[in-house]
Symmetry: C2
Subunit: 366 residues, 2 copies
Amino acid sequence: MCGSPTAASRLTLRDAGNIIDGMKIAVLAPPWFAAPPTGYGGIEWVVSLLADGLVDAGHDVTLFASGDSQTKAELRAIHPVAPSEWIGRSFWELRHVLHCFGQAAEFDIVHDHSGPFAAALSSSIETPVVHTVHGPLAGEPGDLYDQVTKIAPRLGLISLSQNQRKPRPNYNWVANVPNALDLSVYPFRPQRGDYLLFLGRMSPDKGAHRAVAVAMEANVPLKIAGKLQEPKEQQYFDEFVAPHLGDGIEYLGEVTHGQKVELLQHARATLFPIEWEEPFGLVMIESMACGTPVIATRRGSVPEVIEHGRGGVIVDDYRIMGAALEQADRIDPLECRRLVEERYSPLRMVADYVRAYETAIERVPS
Amino acid sequence: MCGSPTAASRLTLRDAGNIIDGMKIAVLAPPWFAAPPTGYGGIEWVVSLLADGLVDAGHDVTLFASGDSQTKAELRAIHPVAPSEWIGRSFWELRHVLHCFGQAAEFDIVHDHSGPFAAALSSSIETPVVHTVHGPLAGEPGDLYDQVTKIAPRLGLISLSQNQRKPRPNYNWVANVPNALDLSVYPFRPQRGDYLLFLGRMSPDKGAHRAVAVAMEANVPLKIAGKLQEPKEQQYFDEFVAPHLGDGIEYLGEVTHGQKVELLQHARATLFPIEWEEPFGLVMIESMACGTPVIATRRGSVPEVIEHGRGGVIVDDYRIMGAALEQADRIDPLECRRLVEERYSPLRMVADYVRAYETAIERVPS
């Protein structure tokens, strides 16, 4: 630490080649759920782990999130309670993002997780901004990011997987930082159970119906859990999943964290039969952390997240998932756990992000 | 006109003291309804009149609005159809605003009507931006504008009334530009009818219930028309308006433009018993345009919009509106019309805005 220099003097020190251990970092969470979230909210979990991890690593961290968040960082909130019922509304997002950006001069770096609006607005402030892209970059989201990066050319982008970058390889990428897990809440269990598990929201991309087909053909029980809220999710579920329930195929609804861990620990394997370019896929590392291998289709981030033959089995077509079961059975549960400990620990994620901040600061034109 | 110089060379010309007749102007409408709107949408009407009027005045105008808009200007749309069902959502607003700002270098000035989101983003572009504040500046909207003007200190703000500025007198105001009407669709009728009229959405601020009280005490029929969609509006209507209907007091629902004009033309007077700081109040000029005087409480923009004794009668308390009726009866319908022609014509509004653009461009640090 170097006392309390101004942002300018800190930059001067850095220009002179000095490495500063404690950076002043603003982490901007999405406003819609508390960090960590009480229910659904993958981004908020990652943001929460990151903010705590940066504090543990000796940085001076301020988390901009709703007032009902819990963090080791200094918490600054303009919304006392997460405005979940207004999710996606400009007014609430604008208040939250401007609350952070209005104080940006205090920080060496602003790390945005809130979304494309903050990313676009980043060109309004002097402080360097990095932005983690949490969604896909194909189709309409990609068109929006084209607009964002045009108006904010200095913005440093961070991907969750190399595959996520494929539609837009020429953006100003400063790092690839896979997500991480708090391993303490995913206890390892060396013994496996006898059923297959599908965890994920009810959507054709995620493929609960393909998991059903695999389980039926292999004549193995299947447990399904996941988000079923939107009308589209309900329609998909009613048409392609519900008719097959019973006779060993079970839908458990949306489960709590503890229930999820129990399901993972006692499964024979987790099925991940996606048919889209998944940017990351937290479920895969959740499963491996509990000692359960993943059988996944070769799409999106899958080949980067799973080590074929160690954390799971990667197949080219979901129709051979049944045949891959025995190969999955031979995978050592301990190796699944180790893979996650090696690659998906908060310590690794924090170190990656700190390097990303340094890269972004170095790229600022002097 | 001066051929097709770059924005920079145009600025140089301007710096040298030359007045350029034809400015390159981008007008940014809200994305939620077509301009002009087919139904509700006061801002979209004003934007539409302005864009057409600027073209008529010889400027090179591009209107950024949804693709179902109609305009004399060049129309550029990222949303082929106004995404009304997504009103207030960041994603749709961001796509629309960035579509304009990404092309801002083509223009001498960008005139935003879309809202605080674009106002905040204005600091991301070089082209000067002016922003008409269409809502109030007290309370939470004022807090949001404090954030916006902090991050976008060069933004030029335009008020609809001097009263609207009162909570925030120190903003970077470049002009006060009252709204205007397309007088051709508000035909004048010199004869008056026998009923009182209340036009406005169902809200305590607007005061349909006070209009009811005035009509009852004066024993004069009352016709009420206005927006009744939100649960809050319904609750207010059910509790404070509906019980008094019948016996000369009538609610006509939401009316079309033509029905509104007929109602205005045949009324004895329009009641405007507001109890809030109305930023402008289009209904007042709509009524006067048709030849019908307005009886209004002295709040918000009222003393600026009505000339007491000419276009209507201003009272300090709605309870003396009944007593003011005879004074309103003595007002010459032709004077009501003339007041609107003098002060609220599109020509006047267009000239005011052009001066505002010149002021904003001159304030840009060279």
